[in-house]
């Protein structure tokens, strides 16, 4: 390995690889240090948002290992035994650029993407765990990887280490995140024949669906569940704030088992074979949890920087790729000046602020606190709402007037209307 690079990137996920690809194309001498093989350590819910990727590799879906493009979205409110759902299908998303939404499996996608950076000239060092930075006069000037010859210098470092931001903490840019700002995602890959998936989810070849489940998805705890369709597998999982798991003494494996056991979820999985079980944290602290993003010789990108939209949009990969791109463009400018100080690298922060990344995080800054301030919507309220609806559609010999007055009374006895409206108002901030 060369002794010195123009830029070293820690982590071969979407943000790091985007930065590497951009810098390598510019002719910079760039290395990516990845502690596993690219993709082997990465997991996410399932939808890659590809606006940035399509600019870097136009029509990438023709060669990338994408699973399906999402044309169908379904939002579902579960009670313990019933479901109310809102189902959207946009056939216009069936044409390029496919609404920039593709289900992918990260072990495959990240590997492919990393190869693209390598083809462009980036050096990808695998099995290299960066344990610390080289610091000179307060500036980051390289990395210390736990391997022979692991001390490698560079003009600057882009830290794309991911959600476990050990290096960012060492660099003094952030503290250990609070349990309230982190969500645990647990996922299973369940295989089914391609045709079965298409029939079951009302899809044609190549089309995909993203189903999100709220309400009692976690048996009364704050959090949600999901099913996303891949080519011949489903990504099935749950997300629950770590503060909630901690306070309620919940076991993540019990939550995903409970979710799959719900009749409105289990029917989609029937006959499936479990292929993989995985867990990964999601930085859902939003705008207020964004750490310091630069210091002399260093920039944070992607999950390490907490760049994830925690609202209903659930966008992460596009924010990660945008941040990697902005960091790379900042390095290119800094190199022209020959100045990698925090002041010059601060241009990266300005680029983020001027883009959808920080604009959206700012708009949804209230979401992380809102989500734990609406516990009724994960507990008694969906039960009461679905019992009301069930009663409404139950066929009997009672008159409709009689049924309605009974249902209204039963509903008001169970749920405080004041609290319900307050919680719905708070929830609407997450949804809009």
């Amino acid at each position: 390995m060369e002794e010195r690079f123009d830029c070293i990137i820690v982590g071969a996920g979407p943000s790091g690889t985007t930065a590497a690809l951009r810098l390598a194309r510019e002719g910079l001498n760039v290395a990516v240090f990845e502690r596993g093989k690219p993709g082997a350590k990465n997991m996410f819910g399932g939808v890659l948002y590809s606006t940035i990727l399509d600019k870097l590799i136009p029509g990438f879906w023709k060669e990338a290992p994408v699973e399906r493009h999402v044309i169908r979205k379904r939002f579902s409110l579960l009670s313990s035994d019933s479901e109310a759902a809102f189902d959207l299908c946009f056939n216009a998303f069936d044409r390029p650029p496919f609404n920039n939404s593709f289900t992918v499996l990260r072990a495959r996608f990240d590997r492919w993407y990393s190869e693209k950076a390598e083809e462009a000239g980036a050096v990808i060092v695998t099995g290299a765990n960066v344990e610390d930075f080289i610091v000179e006069d307060g500036a980051i000037r390289g990395v210390k990887a736990g391997m022979e010859g692991g001390l490698v210098r560079a003009d600057c470092v882009i830290c794309a280490e991911g959600v476990n931001s050990l290096l960012a903490e060492k660099a003094g840019l952030k503290k250990k995140p609070a349990p309230e700002s982190m969500t645990l995602g647990v996922k299973e890959i369940i295989s089914l024949p391609k045709e079965t998936i298409e029939d079951r989810f009302s899809l044609e070849d190549g089309q995909g669906a993203a189903f999100d489940f709220f309400g009692a998805a976690l048996g009364g705890a704050v959090g949600s569940g999901f099913i996303y369709t891949n080519r011949d597998t489903l990504s099935v999982g749950i997300g629950c704030p770590i503060s909630v798991l901690k306070e309620k003494g919940l076991r993540p494996n019990d939550l995903i088992e409970g979710f799959k056991a719900h009749p409105s979820v289990g029917r989609y999985l029937r006959g499936g074979k479990m292929e993989e079980f995985s867990a990964h944290m999601i930085p859902e602290g939003g705008y207020r949890a964004i750490p310091g993003l630069v210091r002399d010789g260093l920039m944070l990108v992607g999950d390490s920087a907490g760049l994830l939209n925690p609202s209903i949009f659930r966008e992460g990969t596009n924010l990660a790729m945008a941040s990697g791109l902005f960091a790379a463009e900042t390095v290119i400018e800094a190199r022209k000046k020959g100045d990698f100080s925090a002041k010059t690298l601060g241009d990266y922060v300005e680029r983020l602020k001027g883009s959808f990344v920080i604009k959206d995080l700012k708009r949804y800054r209230g979401v992380p606190t809102a989500i734990t301030s609406i516990p009724g919507l994960f507990g008694e309220e969906p039960e009461a709402i679905l019992d009301f609806l069930k009663g409404h559609f139950t066929v009997s010999e009672k008159s409709k007037d009689e049924i309605h007055s009974e249902l209204k009374k039963a509903f008001r006895d169970r749920v405080s209307m004041k609290r319900l409206f307050l919680e719905l108002y708070r929830a609407s901030k997450i949804l809009r």
Partner: protein, 96 residues
């Protein structure tokens, strides 16, 4: 669909196990942590941490760690020194 136990689920995965643990517990700090607050004992998705009532000790089965980092965030006592496994070691997802 067929139901799997957690050990069966972990058996689906491929791990390259290092000789030593990347999860270091300061046992003294652990013992000061009230038993009802030891979140590691329930919060880990692969149940790496188990309480051995006989030995009155927390057993760390780091071999099955999914490297999610939840235990580090949840640990109330700061007893846990959480590192990544050495380069090339640990879990390797086939799907992800």
């Amino acid at each position: 669909m067929e139901k799997k136990t957690l050990p069966e689920k972990l058996f689906l995965l491929s791990f390259k196990v290092d000789r030593t643990s990347h999860l270091i517990l300061d046992k003294e700090a652990c013992m000061r942590c009230p038993e009802s607050e030891r979140a590691c004992l329930w919060i880990c998705p692969s149940e790496v941490y188990k309480w051995d009532a006989e030995k009155r000790d927390i057993i760390v089965s780091y071999e099955g760690c999914l490297e999610c980092g939840t235990c580090r965030i949840a640990c109330p006592s700061g007893a846990l020194e959480w590192r990544n496994p050495r380069g090339g070691f640990g879990v390797a997802y086939r799907f992800g």
